[in-house]
Symmetry: C2
């Protein structure tokens, strides 16, 4: 087998990660169409995206491990490959979460509940922006942008808590159907988990740029 | 730095993964004490376990990548290191899920609801057994045991769906408090996600033993 230059391989790996990130970001919009436009999410489209994400996931793992074994990278290149494996894992989980969101959306619409007053579209735009910026920070090795993503995670947590409190209270008071409240709380919960994965990616960027592991930073 | 023999390093990596698995398994019991014995889960104990899991997670990643870079492993050894990185990631997420379960348990007890009739202890025992067997299958390279874990996942899914349906119906009919129903559904949801991670580990064992990637098998 003819081997390609190492740096070309690394660039190719980065391109595939960006493709995954783009798919995740646009799938968030697709799966939330229902809330904005009040129609069923296009299930087939979301499944196709998840299939593509899963293919990329397997390929990226294979390539990253093969490169690590073949080229004995050290320092920054080894950190890049480590980061690629981790980011790959986070993006794959985001793909699963998008499917969960679409399923909940579908269940929500089946019960045809009244339109809720809570701001899930705002939450989803924030999460999309975190996904995009975490990958921009990765490509540009931009420490500041990575820090901004980590900060945004707190805002998403607060939004999720607000959604939870409001819907729970309304359901308890009989002002909103219990089943529909459950569905929306799960959507918010899945969005918040996507934000956690974007935060993981931002932490991987800091690890890549600064050479320190900021995950589990309370252990430091 | 003196390098240790490669096989010793691999054995050491496996031991650390087993330590993580043991911690996860016993933390499931600890966090579910409340349902069996009706008392608050010991939060500090669960946090200590999660801290230890997070330390092991970082160490295992570092060791696995360093070994891959240093020894240029091929075939089975490379598959072992790939599997170790993946299993490590799954165990770390299980640690997070145990913390989520304990938090929900705590919230559930605060509202002092009537004891539910649903069988979450049964579900949790099944998940614990999946965790244990997935790691036994890893250590013994036992294809059959790995297959059994993958099959058990369907049972957990069914239990979760049953919990969801029952609690939702009771909450809708005003026979069970909405908030407490939410908490228990989230507990069941987190247990089901732990079963998914045990299934991932079993799939990694098949990859290790047979050299084929059974993740995302609908793509094959």
């Amino acid at each position: 087998m003819q081997t390609r230059p190492f740096l070309t391989e690394l660039a190719d790996l980065q391109t595939r990660l960006l493709e995954m990130g783009g798919l995740v970001e646009s799938a968030i919009s697709t799966s939330l169409l229902w809330l904005v436009e009040g129609r069923q999410p296009p299930a087939q489209e979301i499944w196709d995206v998840e299939t593509r994400i899963n293919q990329l996931h397997i390929q990226i793992d294979e390539v990253a491990l093969r490169l690590t074994a073949l080229h004995q990278p050290v320092a920054r290149d080894l950190r890049f490959l480590t980061a690629a494996i981790k980011i790959n894992s986070d993006l794959e989980r985001m793909g699963d979460l998008v499917v969960n969101i679409a399923e909940r959306a579908s269940s929500f619409l089946q019960s045809a509940p009244p339109r809720p007053e809570i701001d899930i579209p705002h939450m989803s735009r924030l999460v999309q922006s975190m996904v995009r910026r975490s990958l921009d920070a990765f490509v540009q090795r931009d420490e500041e942008m990575a820090q901004a993503v980590i900060l945004a995670d707190d805002e998403v947590d607060e939004l999720k808590d607000a959604v939870y409190r409001e819907l729970l209270q309304k359901a308890e008071e009989g002002k909103y159907p219990v089943r529909a409240a459950f569905d929306l709380i799960f959507v918010a919960h899945n969005l918040e988990r996507m934000a956690d994965h974007a935060t993981n990616i931002a932490e991987d960027v800091l690890f890549l740029v600064k050479g320190i592991d900021v995950r589990h930073h309370h252990l430091a």
